[in-house]
Symmetry: C2
Subunit: 141 residues, 2 copies
């Protein structure tokens, strides 16, 4: 993607492919999801179902909000609640043959946007960093 | 910044000014910092000292990592540890008269970058969203 014009670059050229993306499963307990988010350092990750279809995203804020009591953070509740009870299931989604401009528009309001195929199987994520790096190359050449 | 060329735009034109930025103080207990991060929804915020000088940033991952024990998350420890024990004090910093390109370069690897004056007083933050929105305007005009 070094010498390509922005108009020749697709979302698939810039995305992080699914095998390199940390994710959780829809039926995991919140405790597991929070540990994945702490160990990886990511703010949020995709949620997949048992057949590897994309169903939403989940982040640290939503998990902590769910166990925030009046007096304290009720951390022991994390093992009783499942990912699907807290995840965000209204998320934007791209396809790998979408244009660079569609990708840029999608990440303006989201740190990353998931990529899935026409049957809903998870392909990867497009991040703001990938878009910004490509834009920098485009301005300097 | 609608019709300006990128070369005419400064970091000061795009930054969120300090009074609109959630922040914590260097001597706050971690419990307070985590509540600010949960309530605001932000992944990380700037850390200021008593005289409103910028000293670092702190995020949810660093706080949770600090209380992550072998068996469980030891949430009760949050009230015994202070922000300065966990914060990241090696952060990039911009000045409000820096160029747009300097701002773009800074946010490639950071979701936001703090802006401070030559004496170190906090002026605000430059976010990836602000840079992306301006780049979109530049491509369409
Ligand atoms: N382990 C690491 N090594 C180097 N840099 C790191 C890093 N973790 C985070 N960063 C930097 O911090 C930015 C924000 O990360 P955050 O976790 O909030 O937000 C991330 C995270 O929620 C998600 N993400 C990125 N890579 C991921 C992956 N491999 N698996 C799952 N989620 C990922 O996409 C968001 C945007 O990512 P983006 O790269 O644009 O932006 C990243 C990247 O610039
Ligand atoms: N309350 C809200 N309303 C609307 N959209 C929201 C939002 N909270 C987060 N977002 C969206 O999510 C992105 C990532 O937020 P995050 O908290 O991980 O990462 C944020 C946060 O750590 C920090 N930040 C942004 N605004 C802040 C503020 N007013 N005070 C303190 N920190 C702020 O800068 C990072 C990048 O911000 P950016 O705007 O580029 O990107 C934001 C924005 O697009």
């Amino acid at each position: 993607t070094q010498d390509k014009q922005l108009t020749d670059i697709s979302v698939g050229d810039l995305m992080i492919s699914s095998e390199k993306v940390a994710h959780v499963q829809i039926n995991n307990p919140l405790e597991h999801a929070l540990l994945v988010l702490i160990k990886s350092g990511y703010s949020a990750v995709p949620v997949l179902d048992g057949s590897y279809k994309l169903v939403g995203t989940i982040g640290k804020t939503a998990i902590l909000n769910r166990v925030l009591g009046l007096e304290r953070i009720e951390i022991e509740k994390l093992s009783d609640i499942r990912v699907h009870e807290v995840m965000n299931d209204e998320i934007p989604c791209l396809s790998s043959d979408d244009t660079f401009m569609n990708g840029l528009n999608a990440v303006i309001n989201h740190p990353f946007v998931c990529v899935a195929d026409e049957d809903g199987y998870f392909d990867g994520i497009l991040t703001r960093r990938a878009i910004l790096k490509q834009l920098k190359r485009d301005i300097y050449t």
